[in-house]
């Protein structure tokens, strides 16, 4: 029992080791990215790698402090911390400094502080606190409302700062909710929406609707017990499409084949839906409804994209999806980043030997695009090691979360994992052109005090909670 009270014996050293490895590798790469012949001393604090060293030192101090604070502190102070940070988010709108178009920084002298970074762990704490209260039921409307309020309040203020990247991170919490019992339909519908959204922008309407119709027919086929039944469905679509095709011949304005297909699909689906509702064919109703919804959604995406998104977001999404190649604008970063990573080959060019990842070619080299340096100088070997380390850390965190006795610790643990995961996914995805250029840092790697400290605090609160898992009620 004595062992139970000794937090140092119960600490998960593997996680701490992974943390240290990532921080150390991050610093090595910041040094390479900012490497400058004139300032060769690694301790030169006028250079980024020198500053990062100071921040790493401070991060260790934070980590140690967190470990010696009693766990109850985090439980009881969660709401207060959340409140303070919401206040800072509002305050920064008025007195903050604008950097890269986002007003999200407090600056005191040369020191910058970004409250949205710290908001993440406060939100995680409050979410854990609320969802672990006795008698909590996730599917109650009131519960969902409060959860939405907890998550979306910071999102609104961060969006007001014009920092879309940081705001998107909060959508990662949906995975936490899923783990805590949120219906899988939400996840399914969410994924469907995300996939359709991308497809609607990427591929031509004709291809999209052809594929959509094809997939739907396939699903109908799978769920059909008799071939005759499927034949009727098929006939319904064929007839309604043909109908519109013939109608088109008599109107003056010529509609494209995609338009005709859409109209035919909608009419066909409505007919099938009505018939199957009448005949109580549940599967058919659902399939036709989903198909109808998908078509409506993709139609509105096109409209919404043109009318509601700001042009620089449009450009970034367009670039990501390969629609418009503005290689000197939004596409420039990604193109240069891909060249840098691609040129690394299997084994990389060697430490400090990178030529692409110097200031001029890849911008924001030591912050958002730090992964380029890994790719160029350490090659595929380096990038796969980094990805493996992150995956190992994330899996370790899930494993740790699942061994918690208290709901609070588990929920918090999941939150840590999904936040880190979201950053990992978006940041690396961005550097290799799989994600839009959304400026969010790679945890523990990217240059910057605010992000390093916030990830350290986020992680170490969980390590602390885990260390005293035996004490918990």
């Amino acid at each position: 029992m004595a062992k139970r009270n000794n937090i140092w014996a119960n600490i998960d050293w593997i996680t701490i080791l992974l943390f240290m490895l990532l921080v150390f590798m991050g610093w090595l790469n910041i040094y390479a990215a900012a490497y400058n012949e004139e300032f060769q001393s690694i301790f030169d604090t006028s250079q980024r790698y020198g500053k990062q060293l100071i921040w790493i030192g401070a991060a260790f101090v934070f980590a140690f402090t967190i470990l010696i604070i009693d766990t109850n502190f985090y439980v009881f102070f969660s709401y207060i911390l959340y409140g303070i940070l919401i206040f800072l988010l509002i305050l920064v709108l008025f007195v903050g400094k604008e950097i890269n178009g986002a007003r999200s920084w407090f600056t005191i002298g040369s020191f910058g502080f970004q409250p949205s970074e710290f908001m993440k762990f406060a939100t995680a704490l409050v979410l854990a606190r609320y969802m672990s209260t006795f008698g909590f039921k996730i599917h109650k409307l009131k519960s969902l409302g409060i959860i939405a309020a907890i998550i979306f309040t910071p999102v609104i203020f961060i969006l007001l700062q014009n920092d879309t990247g940081s705001a998107l991170v909060y959508f990662a919490f949906v995975l936490v909710l899923y783990r805590e019992g949120l219906s899988g339909i939400v996840l399914f519908v969410g994924s469907l929406i995300a996939i359709l959204f991308v497809l609607a922008l990427v591929i031509s309407p004709l291809t999209l609707y052809t594929v959509l119709t094809g997939v739907t027919l396939l699903v109908f086929l799978i769920f059909s017990t008799k071939l005759v039944q499927f034949g009727r469905v098929f006939a319904a679509y064929l007839i309604s499409t043909t109908l519109f095709f013939v109608l088109n011949l008599f109107v003056e304005k010529e509609y494209s084949f995609a338009d005709i297909l859409v109209a035919g699909s909608i009419l066909g689906s409505v007919v099938i839906l009505l018939i199957s509702l009448q005949k109580r064919l549940r599967n058919y109703s659902i399939i036709s409804l989903v198909f109808l919804g998908s078509i409506m959604f993709t139609l509105s995406v096109d409209y919404g994209f043109e009318n509601f998104l700001e042009s620089h977001h449009q450009a970034r999404i367009n670039e990501l999806l390969g629609i418009e190649s503005d290689l000197l604008g939004a596409g420039y970063n990604v193109n240069q980043s891909k060249i840098a990573i691609g040129s690394g080959g299997i084994w990389g060019k060697g430490y400090l030997k990178g030529t692409q990842t110097k200031f001029d070619f890849v911008p924001e080299q030591s912050t958002d695009f730090i992964f380029c340096t890994v790719g160029e100088e350490w090659g595929f070997a380096g990038t796969s090691v980094v990805i493996a380390l992150f995956l190992f850390l994330l899996m370790r965190l899930i494993w740790l979360a699942e061994r918690q006795r208290s709901g609070f610790s588990r929920i918090y643990g999941y939150s840590v994992a999904v936040i880190l995961f979201f950053h990992f996914m978006v940041n690396i995805g961005m550097t290799i052109g799989l994600m839009p250029v959304i400026g969010i840092p790679l945890p523990f790697f990217s240059y910057g005090g605010s992000s390093l400290w916030s990830f350290t605090i986020l992680l170490f609160i969980f390590i602390r909670l885990d260390a005293s898992r035996f004490d918990q009620f």
Binding site: G342, G345, F421
Partner: protein
């Protein structure tokens, strides 16, 4: 909770799938995909500025005056430089190790990552050798530039020169980047926008060894340079060259104008210099040398020297007198020669004189009487003076008439206020300012203004602003060149004055040196007092008398008398311009003029 805890696998699966997608993408990107490896040896998107060729300049007959030659700049990107053979490098470029050291330091200070010019304007010959060896030097590349080349040494001041932009130029106009060229003076400056064209950009992919990997996106994003517009000047190269030949070893200025249009046919400021000296790497050195020259070859006398016009001013005063009815065509004034008061007359002649005779004999007594009558024509001297002032101003004196010349001066025309300041209001009269009567005193007129005055006399009362550009390719010239400026003198008053000017050439000693066979030239000599050496020789003229084709003003510093150098030189230029040659019996005059060396400020009387 049982269901929920199974969901961990879904979450882990999401992590795993993303991780797998990343690993696969990276494997494709880094290991399989050769495109990035092709760029890979280090592709760099390199924007190369495309410098357009500057527009050419022609003379009025289509003879080429200014064109371009190619030179090369060597650029350095300090970060990309690796160890290299400095001795070979310096030998190839003919520079010292110290220069190289300083140059590299300067470039590094500017930016270690961006290319900057290390050595400018390498000749094509040297470049040919360098090109073969350039692969040995990483971090260096070249770009071609065009430099000015001149077909003759003529018209250096008028054509002007091109130099590197100053920080002020860059601030004023975003078009210019450090190292760009800009017209600094003359036509090059005034017509900079038309001549320079528009720079373009070519985007290249270059590997780490500076080898061109081809153009970026097949050149779809390249912006081609727009070549500069060609310009036809109003200058007559033949006349210009001839005028410069006549002015060798002399100081002074010539401006010749076509009266009917205001087109400047020739404009000389002597001593002149070879415009080719201010081109390329030698420019700085030569510029300092020219600047230090005591004869001030860089000083553009035609536009910036303010000379007192002397006796050449007399026809204007007589015209004003006639217009003001201060005198009339029958007025006669007695001249006592050297005993004339308050202004002495320089030599003996018939007396009393009328208008024609007075101009022919350049009689100071007549002019004094005329001037006094003009000033005293109003209630007060000041009012009379103001009337005179306005007439003179309408001749362009004291006004900026230099339309497309980059740095013409207004000259000096005294005002009532000036004299009030000097003498006190009401304390001066015609006697006080009497030197104005004979073109001396506070008057300062540029040769361009004097030639324009010649054109006014030729046109009997109007002028077009003198200008030096006739045509711009695919563009129009300023409409202001077509505006007719009238002076406030009736046309009828010009005839007696012009008769006097004709007699000056044909009925005085000038007939031996300055009469042109078969062409009636009308002119007026002047001798401008000079306290620092021999007097200056001045002559204003136009020819032929009817339908004049050329108006000319000649100013020869230390030429002693107007009749000694300025008038014969003007007659030679007019003859050359109108007949394309010099008549045989005037060849000896031509030789005498060309051979005369007047650089010593003291000349025998």
């Amino acid at each position: 909770m049982k269901v929920s805890s199974k969901r961990r696998f879904v979450v882990l699966a999401v992590f795993g799938v993303i991780g797998l997608i990343f690993i696969i993408s990276l494997f494709r990107l880094q290991v399989l995909d050769p495109t990035y490896k092709q760029y890979a040896t280090n592709n760099v998107l390199r924007e190369v500025t495309q410098y357009p060729a500057r527009g050419l300049v022609f003379d009025r007959n289509g003879k080429l005056l200014v064109y371009n030659k190619t030179a090369y700049d060597l650029l350095i990107t300090p970060r990309e430089v690796t160890k290299f053979d400095t001795t070979l490098f310096c030998n190839l470029l003919d520079i010292s190790i110290e220069d190289l050291d300083v140059g590299i330091k300067k470039a590094t200070k500017y930016s270690p990552y961006k290319p900057s010019i290390l050595i400018k304007q390498i000749s094509p010959e040297r470049f040919a050798v360098l090109k073969e060896q350039l692969y040995k030097f990483q971090g260096f590349r070249t770009q071609s530039r065009t430099l000015r080349e001149y077909s003759t040494t003529a018209a250096a001041h008028a054509l002007g020169y091109v130099g590197e932009v100053s920080n002020r130029d860059i601030k004023k106009d975003k078009y210019y980047k450090s190292g760009d060229y800009i017209g600094v003076s003359g036509i090059e400056k005034t017509y900079e926008k038309q001549l320079r064209g528009v720079k373009g950009v070519k985007k290249n992919l270059v590997d780490v060894h500076n080898r061109l990997q081809g153009s970026y996106r097949d050149g779809k994003e390249d912006i081609p340079a727009q070549i500069g517009k060609n310009i036809t000047s109003t200058l007559d190269l033949d006349l210009q060259l001839y005028a410069e030949q006549l002015f060798q070893n002399k100081k002074g200025s010539v401006v010749a104008i076509e009266p009917a249009t205001g087109e400047v046919l020739a404009i000389v400021s002597a001593p002149t210099y070879d415009p080719g000296l201010l081109v390329g790497r030698v420019r700085g050195k030569n510029y300092s040398k020219l600047l230090a020259d005591t004869l001030k070859p860089l000083f553009n006398r035609s536009l910036q020297a303010k000379y007192p016009p002397g006796s050449t001013f007399k026809p204007m005063n007589v015209l004003i007198g006639l217009q003001e009815h201060a005198i009339n065509t029958n007025s006669r004034f007695t001249c006592s020669g050297k005993d004339s008061r308050p202004i002495r007359c320089t030599h003996n002649h018939v007396t009393p004189t009328n208008v024609v005779q007075a101009i022919r004999e350049s009689c100071n007594a007549f002019l004094w009487n005329t001037f006094r009558a003009i000033i005293n024509n109003s209630k007060t001297s000041a009012e009379g003076f103001n009337a005179w002032h306005d007439y003179v101003a309408s001749f362009g004196v004291g006004q900026n008439i230099s339309s497309d010349f980059s740095n013409g001066l207004k000259g000096d025309l005294p005002t009532e206020a000036d004299y009030n300041k000097i003498y006190g209001k009401g304390h001066w009269n015609a006697l006080t300012v009497r030197s104005l009567a004979i073109g001396q005193g506070e008057l300062g007129v540029t040769p361009l203004q004097m030639a324009n005055y010649g054109a006014i006399l030729a046109n009997r009362g109007y002028y077009f602003k003198p200008h030096i550009i006739k045509e711009i390719e695919n563009d129009t010239i300023s409409q202001s060149f077509k505006i007719k400026h009238e002076v406030q003198i009736d046309k009828k008053y010009f005839e007696p004055v012009i008769e006097g000017m004709s007699q000056t050439v044909h009925n005085t000693n000038l007939v031996y040196t300055s009469k042109i066979p078969k062409i009636e030239m009308c002119g007026k000599t002047g001798t401008v007092e000079n306290n620092h050496g021999s007097d200056h020789s001045v002559f204003v003229a136009f020819a032929p008398r009817e339908n004049p084709e050329i108006a000319i003003f000649v100013y020869v510093e230390n030429g002693v008398w107007g009749s000694r150098y300025a008038a014969p030189m003007a007659s030679l230029m007019v003859e050359r311009y109108l007949t394309d040659s010099i008549s045989t019996r005037r060849k000896y005059i031509e030789k005498r003029m060309i051979d005369a060396n007047l650089l010593n400020p003291i000349q025998p009387k």
